[in-house]
Amino acid sequence: MFDKRHHPSVWLRSIICAVVLLSAPQRAEASDWQLHGFLSQGFTISDGNNVNGDSSDGGGSFDFREAAVNLSWRPSPRILLAGQVASVRRGKVNTDDVALDYLLADYQAYQGNLGRVGFRAGKLKLPFAFFNESRDAVHSRPGILMPQSIYLDNDGARAFGYFSGWGAAVYGDRYYGRHNLAFELLGLSEFAVEDEAEISILRRPASGRFKHERGLLLRILDDIDGGRWRLALSISDSLLSYSAGNAPPFDQSGDFVLQQAFASVQHNREHLSLTAEIVRRRIKLGDLISHPAVSSHTDQDSFGFYLQALYRLPSQSAIFLRYDERLREMQDRNGHRQAAASGLPRHYFFGRDVTLGGNMDLTKHLGLWLELHLVDGVLWVNPLDNPDYGNGQAERHWSLVTAMLSYRF
């Protein structure tokens, strides 16, 4: 039932078992158990390129579904045990197998008048930027399609372990005048990268296999005046390995490094929220050597950002406007240099997306979302949903309308 390729190390399992066994219930109440979840159905219609299924063939695509159920239990005041299983279908990018999303034991070691410190272990959601750890549900992320610059939705982020991973974390809060400074430091162990992700990352099938060996992630977040201003810095450093086949993209096995840095800022007023996030990603190929047939696989220094203004209307509804930009190479904003090197059109190396969106709560449990995207560039168009992508046929200027109905409890 669960994704069998995610192997927690033995010590992590031991910690979780120990915490469960040692946490004898004290003053347990029914409310110490909580069950939540959601079921969302999306519709996408586009011209030019496909997103979430065959969205550009005239009738649109219903091939976007998201569902998750989570259970949490507080066996004693300091301890929280929680797990979530999810099933997501996004065209050919994510298949709808049921997968373990998170499963963790959390121990709050210290709580004082000025702050707290705690530990977590298990399969943890990755806390980077503002929304990564809560991106599963449409009502806790910025829209149906997230800003592709930061969150890599359409690249199959879930399949390459961008949502969660096995590891351990230490976290804390420190109250400091008007500030609540929060930090999380997370160490990740090894896991395999799924096939869909390989194609998304490389833009072509890989003959060998990728594996995430280990990683480190740190986020520092400052909530000022109860969140009127929110500032966050997140950095991550991951070591990945590639076991080569005998064909492109790489001729021999080796390790490579992915480094990411995010800066996030948000201003919240009663009706208006302004959000900006920025990312720089570096891929250092190290001892991986590209196959002679593939000249474009060199070190990458990519960049992205988005700006979003959201306005809350009466009756639990809101509208937003967003500009999102993602560049494959930071120093080649319009793709001229990469186009010359690869033979692909230059719009393959950037994605600029103007989004107008809105949402409305129909009931306490049921919500409706709607978005119009006007896109220039195809950097984040997924080759799995677009068979002509690899031969340079993807259309530069394209648009999509997407809607989502979501039930939550």
Binding site: Q34, H36, Q84, L104, D106, Q108, R116, P127, G226, E270
Partner: protein, 136 residues
């Protein structure tokens, strides 16, 4: 003129909201930062060791908005976003939702470590099991 001033004064005094806690709690006051942490569901036990149990009304209840804005100096949507982040990352639980002020009063009175809120009123202290938690 005096009557108008008096009426204004009384109506101002009558509005507003107070945090209330179960009498088991050893303290009578709290910093705004810790109180925000409690209602943000990031504080699982009081510094004296009692487990924190938070009771709230529905997001769209006027008394909830009054408490958020008047006492926490936040907006209801900010709390909801904070709770959603916890639920979908497995790092916390949302508060217990009650359906009326009467239920709020009763649940806080009968639960050790409980915290909730009520509209400001001299009647709050009449229940011996609850007390007002002042914000420093």
């Amino acid at each position: 003129m005096l009557t108008v001033v008096a009426v204004l004064f009384i109506s101002t005094a009558a509005s507003g909201s107070e945090a209330i806690v179960n009498v088991s709690l050893q303290r009578d006051s709290v910093s705004l930062a810790l109180l925000r942490g409690v209602f943000g569901m990031r504080v699982r036990l009081w510094p004296d060791g009692e487990p924190v149990r938070v009771f709230v009304l529905r997001d769209d209840a006027p008394e909830h908005a009054e408490f958020c804005k008047g006492v926490l100096r936040m907006y209801p949507y900010q709390l909801r976003q904070a709770w959603d982040r916890l639920v979908y990352s497995g790092t916390g639980q949302p508060p217990i939702e009650v359906s009326s002020l009467e239920e709020m009063r009763r649940r806080v009175a009968e639960t050790r470590g409980a915290i909730g809120y009520l509209p400001s009123s001299p009647d709050i202290g009449q229940n011996e099991q609850i007390k007002v938690l002042h914000v420093r």
